[in-house]
């Protein structure tokens, strides 16, 4: 459980990495120091041994074996009290010793003696006497290919070992305590950095589809957390909007379906309350059929729009001869309009092509024409025009109908928006026609707009991108 906690994970990683660095640093320090200390000792005893060896072979030397200490004092300027020195003859017998070796003698192994007899210098660490081991060098003195003497110089390793032991101790204490301090610090930092995340989590947990009005309190700083909170708030706002839209949409949809349902239920119930004449039944059934058709249209349109919203409506985009399509719809419009005595005109540039879905474009045109007929009183006029220039194809459907109130104009493409719900229903509209038109136009990369004078008429304008030259 605790490992799911990001602050512990962060701290743990932090400690592991810091621990690795400190350990390798300490190890490196310890071994480097130890090597250089031992090396220094070796150099020192070897140089003393060489001085003694050279003086013992010098025929002009005034020194004798008994005065090694004085000789060293002359050579090095101080009395090497901590050094043990002894000189042996070639067979290994002790010739002379330094003063501090009065009661002891330095050991010499067979191997060292053999090495010396071959003229080799031997370094060794021995535990001859005392608490601390001795570092010892054995140097043969060779004159004319003959071994004259063997010089042994040794020194106690006390200082080196003490120094290394102290370092070892210091490292053992400081590295773990550094890690403890670092982990506390790391935890504190992680806590501090992650506290706002906890706040965000708390708020987010409180938010459900019914409380989307809640927001995370924004901090003033624009750091990562601030940006996260801001992004989160944006997301909630978007969710809120779409939830509201969905709720509004389903409320509207159910209301739309409720009216025909009320009529169906009521008419059938009243019809069944007593025995009636055949003519009356026929009237009821005709009206029922009308309502069923109306419901069918609403359901179809709803289904289309929800599919469109989910991106499941796929356009079959091909080059479409828009001019020909407009002519077709014009012929149809004339027939519909004739019943209401509406005069229809068309102005068509001819040879206007766009890339699009022919069926959908036809639906768009029919919807617009149908609307124009619905809202134009008898004896009115209607005009369809199509023109193109280099930038766009423009299609207009104009009528001399009742027009749209300026305050309603921005809403007419909204779903279920109706300027006059009774009139629209009687005309058989689903309240979704213009929303579908808008969707079709936008899916083709175009725009739809309306201009209208209340009582004088309306003009719907659709602009579409023209066929690109290479197709």
């Amino acid at each position: 459980m605790i490992f799911r906690n990001i602050r512990f994970k962060l701290t743990l990683w932090y400690i592991i990495i810091l621990g690795l660095i400190l350990t390798s640093f300490s190890t490196f320090l310890y071994f480097t120091l130890s090597r250089s200390l031992y090396h220094g000792i070796d150099l020192k005893i070897k140089s003393i041994a060489e001085v003694i060896a050279s003086s013992s072979t010098n025929p002009y030397s005034h020194y004798s074996f008994s005065t090694i200490d004085r000789m060293l004092e002359d050579s090095f300027g101080l009395k090497p009290v901590t050094k043990f020195i002894q000189v042996l003859d070639e067979s290994g017998r002790v010739g002379s010793k330094s003063e501090n070796l009065q009661h002891f003698q330095l050991p010499i192994s067979l191997l060292t003696l053999k090495n010396a007899s071959q003229g080799k210098v031997t370094f060794e660490t021995t535990k001859a006497f005392g608490k601390y081991p001795l570092r010892m060098v054995t140097v043969p003195v060779i004159r004319r290919r003959r071994i004259i003497n063997i010089v042994q110089v040794a020194t106690s390793l006390e200082e080196v070992e003490e120094a290394l032991r102290t370092l070892w101790l210091i490292l053992w204490i400081t590295v773990p305590s550094a890690l403890v301090v670092a982990s506390l610090g790391g935890l504190f930092l992680a806590n501090k950095a992650l506290k706002p995340v906890d706040e965000i989590t708390k708020t987010a947990r409180l938010i459900t589809s019914k409380s989307l009005d809640q927001r995370i309190r924004l901090r003033k700083t624009k750091d990562e957390i601030g940006r996260l909170a801001e992004t989160f708030n944006d997301m909630i706002s978007r969710l809120d909007r779409s939830f509201k839209q969905i709720r509004q949409f389903s409320a509207n949809a159910s209301h739309e379906l409720r009216t025909p349902l009320t009529i169906l239920k009521g008419e059938i119930e009243v019809g069944l309350r007593k025995r009636r004449r055949l003519e009356e039944y026929r009237k009821i059934l005709t009206s029922n059929l009308e309502e069923v058709n109306h419901m069918g249209r609403i359901v179809d349109d709803l289904l289309f729009l929800s599919k469109a919203d989910m991106g499941e409506v796929h356009l079959q985009k091909k080059p479409v001869d828009l001019a020909q399509l407009v002519s077709e719809v014009y012929a149809q419009a004339k027939m519909i309009a004739m019943r209401k005595g509406i005069h229809v005109q068309m102005s068509n540039d001819g040879d206007v092509a766009v890339v699009g879905d022919r069926l959908r474009l036809r639906e768009l045109l029919l919807n617009l024409v149908d609307n124009a007929v619905k809202y134009t009183p008898e004896g009115g006029e209607m005009r369809i025009s199509l023109e193109r220039n280099d930038q766009q194809v423009t299609l207009r459907v104009m009528d001399t109908g009742i027009g749209i109130d300026p305050q309603d104009q921005p809403h007419i493409f909204d779903r279920f928006f109706r300027v006059d719900k009774a009139r629209s229903r009687e005309a058989g509209g689903s309240g979704l026609g213009l929303s579908i038109c808008k969707w079709i136009v936008e899916a083709h990369g175009g725009e739809i707009s309306v201009e209208s004078d209340l009582g004088k008429g309306s003009m719907f304008r659709v602009t579409l991108p023209p066929t690109p030259p290479h197709t």
Binding site: H255, R258, I263, G266, E269, V270, R273, A422
Partner: protein, 224 residues
């Protein structure tokens, strides 16, 4: 009993009118709030069936104005709005009942009957004057245990008489409560129907129930 139906959806209004008329009510229909309010203010209705979403004047506004004018006609709200807030709001604004669409016509008729009964301070379904009885739900009329067949208009007229016994009912009152607004008061239709009703109710009985009050109108009473 005369009912005003304010409903903008013409087909809904039409089947309610037809159904209620077949229940022997006189029904006036209007499709907008303004006209609905004007009719309710100028006529003495026994009940108003009111939609909420109406053109020209919202149903809630019609309701408030009727109540602020001091009219206590029972009002039944009939609407597609079915949220709790809407129902509570509608009842609190002075309506007497609330029915949501789609509704069952039988339920609407039962509620209309209940509201009218409450208005008339009647407790049961059966109206009685002497040995004459009328069932409001089954529309069966009996005198002395013998069933009497009546036409819709005759039934409506009798129901009005029986709801107001021992009270002088003028021709104007009768026209307002039994006929709808297409009634032409210059004709003698009321007298003709009262005579039809007399023949069916009183003929062959010692005790007459429907009396003519000279110069005023008619009265139903048990005593001679």
């Amino acid at each position: 009993m005369r009912i005003l139906v304010v409903e903008d959806e013409k087909k809904v209004a039409s089947f309610i009118k037809k159904g209620l008329e077949e229940e022997h009510y006189a029904v006036d229909v209007t499709h907008d709030g303004e006209e609905g309010l004007a009719l309710a203010q100028t006529n003495e209705y026994d009940l108003v069936v009111l939609d909420i979403m109406l053109p020209k004047l919202d149903g809630m506004e019609v309701l408030r104005q009727i109540r602020s004018d001091g009219l206590d006609v029972p009002i039944l709200i009939l609407t597609a709005r079915d949220s709790l807030e809407d129902i509570v709001g509608g009842l609190d604004s002075g309506s007497d009942d609330y029915l949501t669409k789609p509704f069952s016509f039988a339920e609407l008729v039962a509620r209309v009957r209940a509201l009218l009964r409450r208005r008339m301070k009647e407790k049961t379904d059966l109206l009685e004057v002497g040995d004459l009885t009328l069932s409001l739900s089954t529309h069966r009329v009996k005198r002395g245990g013998r069933e009497i067949e009546l036409t819709a208009k005759e039934y409506g007229l009798l129901e009005y008489f029986m709801r107001n016994p021992n009270r002088i009912l003028t021709r104007t009152l009768i026209a307002e409560h039994v006929w709808d607004y297409h009634f032409d008061p210059s004709t003698n239709v009321i007298d003709v129907y009262v005579n039809y009703l007399r023949k069916k109710i009183d003929q062959g009985f010692e005790k007459k129930l429907i009396h003519t009050v000279r110069g005023s109108g008619y009265m139903m009473k048990d005593e001679p």
